[in-house]
Symmetry: C2
Subunit: 373 residues, 2 copies
């Protein structure tokens, strides 16, 4: 994989860049919609192109269990199997294996060798190792591959986080060895390293050194997924490492986030983001607007409101439907509502990324986005 | 409303025609997708155009309760409110008022004056009369309006069906009077009459005479909805009236049906059909093919099947996705599956209508569709 920085903001750590992958180029900073089980929920691939997505995420745990990496490999990889056609990043599946991979009787277990888990679908026994998750992602045909890491809850004790940092380093080393031995990167695919360390400054910095010492193509910061954590904790965990990130490699903040989080983290030098929120909130009747505010469609004020979701938005949904009509669909249980809001929220998010790139290019990020920084 | 027959099949009662409505022309025989609460389930209006829909159905009961006809009138009518933009037929809501309009304590009641019912949403008391349902449909801006009728279950006793036929005639007379008094048809909107009579030949014929004696713009046959009835019963009920239908008016078979039912009923002289099946079955993983066969996506044979749902179909879904991929989406609970199958099933149905029109025009209906007649 090739990454080049194409511009830097004079008043922050923000930069623009271009990532080259086997399935095409990506402009950074980039937001990656999440397609857990083979689709960005409710949306068709042509709609992902229409909202401006350049790369989507796939989930190794879910795809490994169903339909299995062998079938996807036979069909030319995840991008071809889903008909998305563009670049794909897959996570290692480790987090889901640990959190979902249990039956009533048996829970998942992390050892030094990997994660042993039980399918949440049929209870069958599986194991993810640093090596096996790379083999699986190779079959998935991922453009950007994530290694197995040990990701404790952000509230975990210092002792637990210490051991996670050590194990993450050991697994990272095994990942690099396996990656190189199999020449998985020969066709331009990338392997990123993941920084852990919870909320402990020294452990975050230790983990960052561990990961950056290895020849990973990019640096990811894990353990801060917005879905479960507060802004202050993200800020802290990120602050501990942001200034020391290797500027020559892309920086990926995993699982973040809300539009205003993205703005703040772009200013800290992050290039890549993913989050289920734009589509998950949409299915719960929540929509975002260009001014980075969040609204609930069921709010009574929208009951008789014939304006678009977001008067500043040019997406197909805002050019077509009214708030009151979409609210009616949501209230009556029509899934078209969640679909429309998913499309719109992704449009707002991807348009935000475009605006951020434009501001960085102009060198005006900190003034253009002052209210959010 | 203007209706003209443009072609007749030499070997059956089938004909082609053109219906002119305030929102545009409709080619018959026509299939009308059902948009119960404001949307054809899972689909956007531009997709209805893409599958070839020329008119959709709205449900007066549901729209009366939510969001209310007043709001829809203020927004320019149902076609504009939903952004469909094309012609709309609305039912009277009587059937839903009777079947859904009850609380735990109070049930709906039909009297000579109309149907008194209770909202299934908030228990509020409402009444539909032959006059009020026309006023509501006027506010909805419907192109084709259906009158209140008394629609007993097809298994009802002769006595019950006799009284339904009488009441339907009385309500039909009141409907015509109210329609004319208010000049509701002045701008080209149509009022259809509904024939009842259950499975009794003489009562069907009586009801047909009652309805055709009145100046309705079209003749509908009710009480045979495919969703609840078997083919033999539909055949019988329709046979009793088909030969005596006034050829100068359009013939609408309400709630039918499966593709093969449609073929048979087009040959009996019916011009208009509606049914929830293409989209309801789709949401349950069932798809149709051009050869008029029905398939269940969860069938094991589709697990490793990289062909389209229907190799003969040119719809966007069949040009994009494979059976195995859509099966995977359905198995993992992704609503994109139901959406894709809805689009496809409607494509198959509307393409069938096109093929039927072509065959009638050529005079080859009975040979082209011999296996289904």
């Amino acid at each position: 994989m090739k990454f080049r920085v194409t511009g830097t903001d004079p008043n922050s750590q923000a930069r623009t860049g271009v990532l080259e992958t086997p399935h095409g180029q990506i402009q950074t900073p980039v937001f990656m919609p999440v397609a857990t089980a083979g689709a960005v929920k409710t949306l068709a691939p042509w709609e992902l192109s229409e909202v401006g997505a350049e790369i989507i995420l796939g989930n190794t745990y879910h795809l490994h269990l169903r339909p299995g990496a062998e079938l996807i490999a036979k069909r030319g990889g995840y991008s071809q199997w889903t008909r998305w056609g563009g670049p794909v990043l897959t996570d290692s599946g480790g987090y889901q294996a640990y959190s979902l991979g249990a039956t009533r009787a048996k829970s998942a277990k992390t050892t030094n060798d990997g994660v042993r888990f039980y399918s949440h679908i049929d209870g069958s026994k599986h194991e993810f190792t640093p090596e096996s998750v790379l083999d699986i992602q190779d079959k998935l045909g991922s453009d950007i591959v994530m290694p197995l890491d040990d990701c404790p809850p952000i509230e975990a004790s210092r002792k637990r986080v210490e051991s996670a940092v050590i194990r993450t380093r050991e697994w990272a080393t095994r990942s690099i060895e396996h990656w190189q031995k199999n020449s998985y990167g020969a066709d331009g695919r990338a392997l990123f390293g993941i920084v852990q360390g919870g909320l402990f400054e020294d452990l975050r910095q230790q983990s960052l050194r561990d990961i950056q010492d290895l020849p990973f193509d990019g640096i990811a910061v894990g353990g801060v997924a917005i879905a479960s954590e507060g802004k202050e904790k993200i800020n802290k965990a990120v602050e501990y490492v942001a200034a020391s990130l290797d500027p020559s490699r892309p920086h990926y903040l995993m699982g973040v986030g809300y539009p205003d989080d993205i703005v703040r983290m772009v200013a800290q030098g992050f290039d890549m983001f993913d989050c289920v929120l734009p589509t998950r909130l949409a299915r719960h009747g929540v929509f975002w607007t260009t001014n980075l505010r969040q609204h609930n469609l069921m709010n009574a004020q929208f009951k008789h409101d014939a304006t678009p979701l977001d008067p500043e938005c040019r997406c197909r949904i805002c050019q077509t439907f009214t708030r009151e009509y979409l609210r009616h669909l949501y209230a009556t249980g029509e899934t078209l509502a969640g679909r429309a809001l998913s499309f719109h929220n992704l449009s707002v998010t991807l348009r935000l990324m475009e605006r951020l790139r434009e501001s960085i290019s102009r060198g005006t990020l900190t003034t253009d986005f002052a209210p959010y920084l």
